[in-house]
Symmetry: C2
Subunit: 130 residues, 2 copies
DNA sequence: CGTTTAATCAACGTATTAGTTGATCAAGGA
DNA sequence: TCCTTGATCAACTAATACGTTGATTAAACG
């Protein structure tokens, strides 16, 4: 699976886009299939124009795209951008968890030296990357 | 692995927190280990106060925590909240990809336009975006 | 004590955001 | 053609976000 590099500006917009409950609800809805602006606006109390703006925000973030069907403009989810977000998060989450497990091993070894029979866990060094 | 439920407000704050390149850089740095405000501020051109505010934003989002060590207040990454974010995204990303694969299968199966049983998924479209 | 170091608080300017209402455009259908 | 439908544009307001500088707290050190 090839993941195209996403610029910092793209990440800015993607994370900002999901920082709104209305937009997250739109994403959730679109995961079940494409929908028009009217359909997407229906569950909300806010105006249709406001929903249209939310969709523009999502589109600028690369999270959705639009096609044309007569006077309707169905909105589609772009899973690739969602994947780019999880890829960013996981990169650092997994590094931190790995580091945490290594630290755990060290603590266990130093506080109870007698019980320690397994020394296969790497202790030091792990850094680098931008 | 038990994932504690995260409120909508928490997701709001967590996604908003990552929608800033400075804060993402802080997260990246913390994935390699805890750091003080001064250490975190060093790579940036902005004032230390501004970095302090960024850390507060991350803390309010549950993405970092702070302990106390004399007059230093080391900042630690909270991987659990990062995981909650990927869990949210993956829920809908995987659903969409699943749906997409099913649609693919349908298209492959019916090279000739057979009876359309499900009208919720438009077939004639073409994705593209910058 | 007084000083240094680490960090936050307070007040402020500016930019961006989310919402509103009213007008407009664009594609069908009568 | 005129009318309806789907959606966007334009202008405006209120609230929030990001950065600044200057003052302040709090612990450690001499």
């Amino acid at each position: 699976m090839i993941l195209s590099p996403v610029s910092e500006a793209h990440l800015d917009r993607a994370f900002a886009a999901l920082a709104d409950p209305v937009r997250r609800a739109i994403i959730a809805r679109l995961s079940r299939g494409a929908a028009t602006v009217n359909e997407l606006a229906e569950p909300f109390e806010i105006s249709k124009q406001a929903v249209s703006k939310h969709i523009q925000v999502l589109e600028l973030a690369g999270l959705v795209s639009r096609t044309r069907d007569a006077q309707r403009r169905p909105v589609h989810l772009e899973a690739a951008r969602l994947e780019a977000m999880t890829a960013w998060i996981d990169r650092y989450r997994l590094a931190a968890e790995q580091r945490f497990r290594s630290l755990d091993a060290v603590l266990e070894r130093t506080t109870q030296p007698a019980i320690q029979a397994d020394a296969t866990t790497p202790i030091t060094d792990k850094e680098q990357q931008s």
